[in-house]
Symmetry: C2
Subunit: 421 residues, 2 copies
C-alpha cells in the first residue's frame, strides 16, 4: 500500500508540474537544460560514488562484463550525458508551432497547434544515462517524465535525479517535472502502468520480455518496439559497388543494434554476379551466412556459409550473422518483407526509377529507404534531434521518435462570433 500511495503521489506531482512546464517559453527551458548539464559535470564525483554502490552489487552478483560496462558512469559517460542535454537545448522548440491554418466558408480560421503530450512514463533497464537523456528530451518537449530504471542502477538513477533537481532550483522549470520511482520491486511497474489519469504515454526500453510485460499490463498507451528485422533488397541493375558498401555497412557497422540488417534479398538476375562478391566481403569481416538453396547453388556451403532454415527469415540476430535469399523480383521481395519483417526499416538498392518508387510506396515499414544503409534509421541521423525510442506500432508515432514525437496537436479556431446554423 505504501508503495502504491507514494507512486500515485509522485505521478500527481509530475502531472501538476507538467501543466506549468507546458507554457514555459523555450529560452527558459534551454536555460534549465544548460543548468542540468553544468550540474552533472560539477557533481561527477558524487555521481560516480553512488554509481560505485551499484557496480559493487553488480560485481558481487556476477553480472556479465558487458552489463557492468553498460552500468558504469565513466567520465566519458557523464560528459556524454551533459553534452546530450546541451544538444537538446540547441534544438528548436516544437511547442506552439502552427503549421497551417485554413479558412472555412463561414470565415472561421482552423489550425493545429503543437502541444506536449503531458506526462511520459519511461521504463528501462541498466544504462543510467537514459535517465538524463529522457529527462532532457521530455523537458524540452514540455512533458513531465516519471522514470523507472532497472534495480541494478538504482543508486545511480537516484543520484542523477538529485543532481538534476538541484540544477533546476532557481530556474523557471519546477523540479517536479522529473521524477524517478524510488522502488525496485517489480510491482512498482504495475502500479505505474495503472496511473492512467496522470500518465499519457509509456515508453519501455529494453528486451522483448520487458516490452511484452508492459504491453500486457498497461492501461496507458504504450510505444512498442519489439525487434528490428531489417532488410536490404538488391535489385537487378543495382550499382554493385554501391550494393556491396550498403550491405556491409548495414550488417557490420554495429551488428548489435536494431537498425542493423538481418536479411539480404538479392534479385535473381544479378545473383550470379553479386553473391560471390557479397559473400566474400561478409566472410572477410567474420559474418556467418545463412543461405537459401539458390544462394548455395552459386556460393557453395563452406566455413561460415550454411543452409538457412525457416527460423532464419524471422531472426533478429543482433550479431555478425546474416540471412541471404535470392528472390524473383520486387514482388517477392515485398511479400517476403511483409511476411517476415518487423515494420522497422527496409532499403532497396536500385537504379530503376519505377521500382524505387514502388518499393517506397508499397513497403509500409516505419522507415523505407532507397540506396542508403539501414543504419541511418535513427533520430539523430535523420535530423529529428535526439531520439527517445523507435515505434513500430502505427499509432501516434511511427519510426524514430524525436522531440516532435513527444508532442501532439490540438485544433485552434479563430472566429469572429460565428454560431452554428
Amino acid at each position: 500500500m505504501e508503495i502504491e500511495k507514494r507512486i500515485r503521489e509522485l505521478a500527481e506531482e509530475v502531472k501538476a508540474a507538467s501543466r506549468v512546464l507546458a507554457d514555459i517559453p523555450a529560452t527558459e527551458k534551454d536555460r534549465a537544460l544548460s543548468a542540468m548539464a553544468a550540474g552533472l559535470r560539477k557533481r561527477r564525483d558524487f555521481l560516480q560514488k553512488e554509481n560505485r554502490r551499484d557496480l559493487e552489487k553488480a560485481e558481487a552478483g556476477g553480472l556479465s562484463p558487458a552489463m557492468i560496462d553498460r552500468l558504469t558512469l565513466s567520465d566519458k559517460v557523464v560528459e556524454a550525458m551533459a553534452a546530450g542535454l546541451e544538444e537538446v537545448a540547441s534544438f528548436p522548440d516544437p511547442i506552439g508551432n502552427v503549421e497551417r491554418m485554413w479558412r472555412r466558408p463561414n470565415g472561421l480560421m482552423v489550425g493545429k497547434m503543437r502541444i506536449p503530450l503531458g506526462v511520459v512514463g519511461m521504463i528501462y533497464e541498466s544504462r543510467p544515462n537514459v535517465t538524463a537523456d529522457a529527462a532532457g528530451l521530455c523537458l524540452k518537449s514540455g512533458n513531465g517524465v516519471i522514470l523507472r530504471g532497472g534495480s541494478e542502477a538504482f543508486h545511480s538513477n537516484m543520484a542523477i535525479l538529485e543532481v538534476l533537481h538541484e540544477a533546476l532550483e532557481g530556474t523557471a522549470v519546477p523540479a517536479a517535472v522529473i521524477q524517478v520511482v524510488p522502488f525496485t520491486e517489480r510491482r512498482a511497474i504495475n502500479i505505474l502502468l495503472a496511473c492512467e489519469e496522470q500518465i499519457d504515454l509509456i515508453i519501455p526500453r529494453g528486451g522483448e520480455g520487458l516490452i511484452r510485460f508492459v504491453v500486457e499490463n498497461s492501461r496507458i498507451p504504450v510505444i512498442k518496439h519489439y525487434k528490428g528485422v531489417c532488410h536490404v533488397f538488391v535489385d537487378a541493375g543495382a550499382d554493385l559497388e554501391m550494393a556491396r558498401r550498403i550491405v556491409i555497412n548495414a550488417k557490420t557497422h554495429r551488428p548489435g543494434v536494431c537498425n542493423a540488417a538481418e536479411t539480404i534479398l538479392v534479385h535473381k538476375d544479378i545473383a550470379d554476379r553479386f553473391l560471390p562478391l557479397m559473400v566474400a566481403d561478409l566472410l572477410e569481416r567474420g559474418v556467418e551466412i545463412r543461405a537459401c538453396e539458390e544462394t548455395l547453388a552459386i556460393v557453395p556451403a563452406a566455413t561460415g556459409v550454411q543452409a538457412a532454415t525457416e527460423v532464419d527469415w524471422d531472426a533478429e540476430y543482433l550479431d555478425l550473422i546474416v540471412a541471404v535469399k535470392v528472390v524473383d523480383g520486387l514482388e517477392e521481395a515485398i511479400s517476403h518483407i511483409a511476411a517476415h519483417g518487423s515494420d522497422h526499416t527496409e532499403t532497396i538498392v536500385t537504379s530503376d526509377y519505377h521500382r524505387s518508387q514502388e518499393f517506397l510506396r508499397r513497403v509500409n515499414s516505419s522507415v523505407v529507404m532507397v540506396n542508403a544503409s539501414t543504419r541511418f534509421s535513427d533520430g539523430g541521423q535523420m535530423g529529428l534531434g535526439a531520439e527517445i525510442g523507435i515505434s513500430t506500432t502505427k499509432l501516434h508515432a511511427y519510426g524514430p521518435m524525436g522531440l516532435e514525437g513527444l508532442t501532439t496537436t490540438k485544433y485552434i479556431i479563430y472566429g469572429d462570433g460565428q454560431i452554428r446554423q
Copy 2:
C-alpha cells in the same frame, strides 16, 4: 471456440485485404465508394425488410421510442448513407502525400509519407448507418475495417454488409476490406480486442460504459472519448451581443451532443451587465440554470435558476441544463477548465488580443476557440471531411478524427549510396 476461430479468421482476412487496399489509387477507391452508394439505393427494399426484423424484436422487447428511432433505416437514412459515401468519394485522398522532405548534410533526403493505419476495429451501438459511414471512411483512407455493431441492429448491419460486398464486386477493392462480426455475444468483443496482430486501432462509439469496457479489455490502442464537458468563458470587455449568441448556440443548438456547452464561466467585471441578459435568454429557451453564489447574488433564484452543487461543475448534462460560474479572470477560468473539463472543446469570447492568445496557448483541450460556438467542434464543420469519432486522449489523434486521423506517416529516405560513418 467456434466464435473465436471465426473472428480471428475474419480479422486475418481483413488484414490481408487491407494490404491490397493500401496501394489502390484514389480513382479506384472513389469508384468503389460510388458503387457502394448506388448499391444501397438500389437495394433499399431489402435493407428495410431486414431492418424490419430488428425493429420487430426491439418493439417486442420494449425499447424506448428514441432507441427505435435510431435503429430505423427510413428512406431518409438510407439516402443519407448513400450520400455520405459519395461525399467521402469527393474528398481528397490523404494516402501517399509527402508534406515536406529535408536534406541532411550527407545528401540524404528524408521525409514522411502518409500511409493507412492498417485495420480499424469499430465497436458501436444501435445506429446501423454507422456501418456504412465507417466502412466508407476506412476504405477511402486505405484501411480495412472490422465492425461490431449492437445486437439490436444485427440483421440491419448484416444486410448493409451484404449490399456493400455485392457493390465491391467488379471494382478494384477486395470485398474483404469490410467485415462485420456475425456474433451478438458480448464475448465477441473480448475476442476482437485480443486480435492485436491483425487490428491496429479500436474506435468505440457509444456510452461511457461501453468505452470503459473496451479500454479495460483491449490490448490494441483505443481512441477514447468519455465525455464532453465544454466551457464558454465570457471575458471582461467581450462583445455582449456576440457572447449572448454564442452561449445560446453552444447550449441550445443541439443540447444532446458532446460539443454542446455545459458550463458558462463569466468574468466578474461584466457579470452585473451580462448575467441578467444571458439568464433571460436561456430561460426563454427552457434552459435550467445551476448557478454559483455570485451569480445568484446578481440573478436571484427563481423558477429555472437554482444553486449549483459541486457535482454540477463536472456534469455532462446532454440536456437543456447549464452550470454558470462567475470567475475572477482568465487565470481562474483556465484552472477551472483544467480541474473540471474533459479535454474536449472550450471557447473564449473576448475582445482582448493578449487574453485570446493566452487562452489558445494555455488551454490544452483538443479544440480551443476564440469567439466561436463550441458546436463547431466537428470534423465536417472544421473541414476535415467526415468524422469517424473524436479523441480526447492526446495520442495519435486529438480532437475530431477525419480521413487524416485514420492515417499515420512512415519516414522515406532517398539516398545515393550513403553509408554510416
